[in-house]
Symmetry: C2
Subunit: 244 residues, 2 copies
């Protein structure tokens, strides 16, 4: 690495200064996600900068998902924020075709298997009961709504990722989830999608509760396999329809 890291001195970095100050304020004030932070006008006045500058800074935080702005209401913290944090913007070029869907699923398989295993090792009793509650909600929704439980399903998985002790898993799989749903908006011909995966949610939970990391990983892999099979089944049906 011959290129010594000498960033050119920045005589003008008001945005960063604003964000740094705001991060310090948040920490000092002990603000948590959901709390409201000061008005743009107040920030501008206090920091002795233009409201425009404040807005550009907040726009950056909004883009990073750290903050949510509601017109007429205020700006609210959306995630924990600390003075020293690292942002790694990731842009994925996802297509809306079968191949892209399979690719996101492959990544999900890799991440989910590891997250579930970590969860089995690390989760505490409190998080475990939280996961259990999500599981029960999901199972009830499944039975009462004849298999449509994708929202509760997702919350169950999220609870697991959160209990893995590594926030990166939650963020990455959320990205995969969103890519998946780009395609999912308009139902794509696979009826009863997700039915086959249903029983594995409980088996995964049981393996986690038993602290059986490898068992949990195996069950997660089975779950992903059923989703993959559903996907292939739908694709085959679609190809057949097209050739008819």
């Amino acid at each position: 690495m011959s290129q010594v890291r000498l960033p050119p001195i920045q005589t003008t970095a008001r945005d960063d200064a604003v964000l740094a100050a705001l991060a310090g304020f948040v920490q000092q004030e002990g603000l948590k996600p959901g709390d409201k932070l000061p008005t743009e006008r107040i920030l501008a006045e206090r920091l002795k900068v233009s409201r425009n500058t404040v807005r550009e800074a907040l726009t950056r935080w909004e883009g990073l998902g750290l903050v949510e702005r509601l017109q007429g209401s205020g700006t609210f913290l959306k995630a924990a924020v600390s003075p020293h944090m690292l942002h790694m913007p990731l842009t994925l070029a996802g297509g809306n075709d079968f191949a892209s869907l399979m690719q996101t699923l492959e990544v999900r398989r890799a991440l989910e298997a590891e997250a579930v295993a970590l969860c089995a090792v690390r989760t505490g009793p409190q998080e475990l009961s939280f996961i259990q509650r999500k599981l029960e909600v999901m199972e009830e929704a499944f039975h009462s709504r004849a298999g449509m439980s994708s929202e509760e399903d997702w919350e169950f998985h999220q609870a697991i990722y959160r209990a893995s002790g590594n926030p990166l898993f939650e963020q990455l799989i959320a990205a995969m989830h969103e890519m998946f749903h780009r395609f999912w908006e308009h139902p794509l011909g696979v009826r009863d999608f997700g039915h086959a995966s249903f029983p594995y949610h409980r088996t995964i939970y049981e393996r986690i509760a038993a602290r059986d990391a490898e068992g949990a990983r195996a069950e997660a892999l089975k779950l992903i396999a059923t989703v993959e099979a559903d996907l292939r089944r739908g694709e085959a049906a679609r190809n057949q329809a097209r050739h008819a």
Copy 2:
């Protein structure tokens, strides 16, 4: 899913509209990274919006690393941009370098194991010989420079991800790699870092060449384990020094 996907009509989404229009422009014009895009003033005029609005939109892209703004010079494309892409800013709560490094490493373990296994199944003879060449370059660099071969090391791994047939793996692990190196800038006490992982590069290659997916996965896990051990060793030494 009781919550039907009905996004509230947005009477005000000028920023997004600007970015959508700009993304379309970039694609239509065939602009590539490094190219300069229109002036803020021109964009404001053409899109019939205020320059401030254009600026807020570009600020979002800048925050996502898609664009670079140089005062006095212009705004330049920094990454490929297409109308349909997913932005997922990853945020790592800093403050504790060691914890952050371990978190990126856990994700890398999940992804690398799967990528290596997929590679063993899918790679063709041409990609295989490419990987072999990267391996030999890396081994020579290792021997001639007394263990410093991080650049060639990385290229070897990249070749494998590329041969996995799933571009998402390459993008995601590249993100992990960059995060890892953000902390790595200032060497943090672990001398001979990476020495222990050296032999596993060849064993991974051999398992891939033998089309042994599970064997390759096992070797990759061993490699990650050595890196993790190095990391823990350095952390322990640092803690000891602090308590002295």
